[in-house]
Amino acid sequence: MTGQAEQSPESRPPTAGLMARLRPGPIGERRWELFRANRRSVWALWIFTVLLVVSLFAELIANDRPFFVWYDGDAYWPTFADYLETDFDGQFPTAAVYRDPWLKSHIDENGFAIWPLIEYHHTTVDWGLDHPAPAPPGDRHILGTDDQARDVVARVIYGFRISVLFGFILTLTSAVIGVGAGAIQGYFGGWLDLLLQRFMEVWGSMPTLYILIILASVVEPNFWWLLGILLLFSWMGFVGVVRAEFLKTRKFEYVRAARALGVRDARIIVRHVLPNALVATITFMPFTLAGSVTVLTSLDFLGFGLPPGSPSLGELLAQGKANLQAPWLGVTGFVVIGLMLSLLIFIGEGVRDAFDPRKLFR
């Protein structure tokens, strides 16, 4: 509010109304203040953001291609473009394998290569292991390899990214659908509400896991298939709170006043009622996100998840279970999943406090 107080409101152009919508209002600032009061949540948010940003640039951190190659006076960007071995004066017109000892030394003789921190992609099979796979942690692989000789760190980074992105997309889309359905049910009520509620009861009792298993025998479930199937059921989690909030708010006098003004239903829903319902939705979101991540992980663990070869935390856990002699697999999987879920829950607690009306208006 300080910024607004200093500036005389009269001097502002009328479009300031639009700007005011984007700027956090006094309520938004109070919420931010409440969120920051929870130190643990702030730390969790920071750590999670850093981890997410890092994993979003996974290709620059863990890859079996150098980030940049200087060869014979020319610049190459292998991370972003494919080059043939012949480009580096090799013999065959096949894709360059930069980890090939011959190519590696050849590039070093005629220029240089800048490698990422971890020289393995999540798909890279390390043929030069001096142990049988799974290899224990060591200089070559900080956290060891899995039973197919792939670097665990690389797989964790990519797996984290795919889990979080899956969680985000699933949470956001199910929030949009769930809020929409809840809004319509709560605002219009009556028969529509009754029918949709009964439909949800029937729909909600469908066994998700069996549907996935049946599906897995028909198509090979990829990221989007899984997202779609889980979305069929996860949107219902939001309907209850939103519907309740709408049933309550539609009786408020300011909604009546808007109807008396002749405002359209859609506009009343969006401008007057939805902001109230969003509080409950946003409060739920971090917890739903954690739940979505867990669902994907458990499907991967059971083998009904992402296609084979995908980097996935659930698959890492499954490998840990299958290879009890290689505890680094299970321990790494546990620590990463535990950390990720804890961070999400801590953030969720902060968000919940920030949106708590009892604290907000004290």
Partner: protein, 550 residues
């Protein structure tokens, strides 16, 4: 008089909160001193925010400590200090020696407990009464507060009682342990006028029989005049004046007391009688079918509004009075097409029954409404400018942003709100200001008819007067027709030209306001008027008037 039962000396109340590591202290009540004797009624009056309720709550140490604290002062009950007393001492006194009744009987009673349990709880706690003995005591208490057939009502839940009966139960609970002091915080504000009168009668007669000291917190000065022996006037957390009721009413010492006591709704010149009514309603009915049985056969109707006919002329005000549940608000909502209805409604001589969106929108432009609760009727998440311009938006009027902003500024100036505040949010405004904003929102569409649903009931007397003055001015300026819905007859008397008295959906009396106020013909109208304007008559409690509560 003997020594006081309750004496308050130099009492101050402050609230502290820690914000960004800095302790902030707000002083809300400062240096209040008064005494309460047995058998005496002391009224604590003041506007909302003057600290009267906080003072009352602090007497029983019911404030949110340690968030709240007392920088100075003492509260002594028969010589025992209550400020800072241990919880065992307080528990012994609360509900036993000093009892309290609250404003809203619906929320003050636990909706999941039957009456026997509600009242029995404090009996068991303080007197150890259980079982048959407790039941007998509860019955006699309920009879004492005027609830008939107490024996059969023991297993009733609060929602099965009317507002007046709930308040009686509250009083029975408060009196269960024969306290010396009763603190009544706005005990009748939520009730209808005729019920209010009966509750006051009840309190007065209980006071006589039990020699109670009553501390009455209220903003209703009519009530104070009827019942109080002494008056304490509070303003901004300070006691500005105290004295005998008669002498304060006769000769208030402070200017503030004078405005508080004598703030009267402004006079207005009677408008010209235009022949052509802007709104003509014939036989309006809102009946809700009552369905029973497997096939949902309609077995009867709940008649929310039954055959109402009225005419409204430009520049005139039609008052609609009646108790809660009489169908006043439903009538307004029906005319605004927010509730389904039957009957003919003519707007400007044309039937306003078309269902297509275009004609509904046209009708919405000519009729607008202002609601009772200035806190509930403004969306908390929209700035004042957005709230006021919403009507223009909805009708696609004034698409130009600058022009629209200019209109908002104009209309805010018209309702005497500084237009610079249009970027602020409703929670920064007082009740009166919010009601002005609600009026601005309605007026921005330049309607011909404005429905005012208890527009001043939630406001303090002095603010009420200002809002009424504003309404009068706007009516003269724009030739607006008002439908003024209220249960406050003194306000209606000041503003209405015509009057409809409603009861349980029926119109019991209708005509020129002056004539009805001068010579009411229907007994119900007479009862309403006498409850509102006559001094209290102490009657026996069990005079069998309870049936009218329900």
């Amino acid at each position: 008089m003997s020594s006081p039962i309750l004496s308050v000396k130099d009492l101050s109340i402050s609230f502290q909160r820690i914000e960004r590591g800095v302790r902030q202290v707000a002083d809300v009540v400062r240096n209040v001193e008064f005494e309460l004797h047995a058998g005496e009624t002391v009224a604590l009056v003041g506007e909302s925010g003057s600290g009267k309720s906080l003072t009352a709550l602090s007497l029983l140490q019911l404030l949110p400590y340690p968030h709240a604290f007392h920088p100075s002062g003492s509260i002594a009950y028969r010589g025992r200090e209550l400020v800072g007393a241990g919880s065992s001492v307080l528990q012994e006194i609360r509900g036993n020696d000093v009892s309290m009744i609250f404003q809203e009987p619906m929320t003050a009673l636990n909706p999941l407990h039957v009456l026997e349990k509600q009242i029995g709880e404090s009996l068991a706690l303080h007197q150890g009464l259980v079982g048959h003995a407790a039941r007998k005591t509860i019955c006699s208490l309920l009879e004492k507060v005027g609830i008939r057939d107490a024996g059969t009502r023991l297993s009733a839940y609060p929602h099965q009682l009317s507002g007046g009966q709930r308040q009686r139960v509250m009083i029975a609970m408060a009196l269960a342990n024969k306290p010396d002091v009763l603190i009544a915080d706005e005990p009748t504000t939520a009730l209808d006028v005729t019920v209010q009168a009966r509750i006051l009668d009840l309190l007065k007669s209980l006071q006589l029989s039990d020699n109670l000291g009553i501390l009455l917190i209220t903003h209703d000065l009519n009530m104070v005049r009827k019942i109080a022996d002494r008056i304490l006037v509070m303003k901004d957390g300070r006691l500005v004046e105290q004295g005998e009721t008669a002498s304060i009413f006769a000769m208030p010492g402070e200017a503030y007391t004078r405005t508080l006591l004598f703030a009267q709704p402004p006079d207005r010149d009677p408008p010209e009688r235009v022949s052509e009514p802007v709104l003509n309603v014939r036989d309006l009915r809102i009946w809700y079918p009552v369905r029973k049985g497997l096939l949902k056969k309609t077995v009867g109707h709940v008649k929310a509004v039954n055959r109402v006919s009225l005419e409204l002329r430009p520049g005139n005000t039609l008052g609609v009075v009646g108790e809660s549940g009489s169908g006043k608000t439903t009538l307004a909502l029906a005319l605004l097409k927010l509730v389904n209805h039957e009957g003919s409604v003519m707007l400007d001589g044309k039937p306003a029954s078309a269902e297509d969106r275009q004609s509904i929108m046209k009708m919405r432009r000519s009729m607008q409404i202002v609601f009772q609760d200035p806190y509930g009727s403004l969306s908390p998440r929209m700035s004042v400018g957005e709230i006021v311009s919403e009507g223009l938006d909805a009708h696609g009027l004034v698409p130009d942003i600058r022009e629209r902003d200019r209109r908002v500024v104009d209309i805010l100036k018209e309702v005497e709100i500084d237009p610079n505040v249009r970027f602020r949010y409703p929670h920064e405004f007082s009740g009166g200001q919010r009601q002005r904003i609600a009026i601005a929102r309605a007026l921005v569409l330049e309607p011909r008819i404005l429905f005012l649903d208890e527009p001043t009931s939630a406001l303090d007397r002095t603010v009420q007067v200002q809002v009424l003055e504003l309404l009068n001015r706007l009516q003269r300026l724009h030739g607006l027709a008002y439908v003024f819905i209220s249960h406050d007859l003194s306000v209606v008397r000041a503003i209405a030209d015509d009057l409809i008295v409603m009861r349980e959906g029926d119109v019991v009396e209708q005509g020129r306001a002056g004539e009805i106020f001068a010579s009411p013909t229907h007994p119900y109208t007479r009862e309403l008027l006498s409850a509102a304007f006559d001094p209290v008559i102490t009657t026996a409690v069990d005079s069998g008037q309870e049936s009218v509560d329900g």
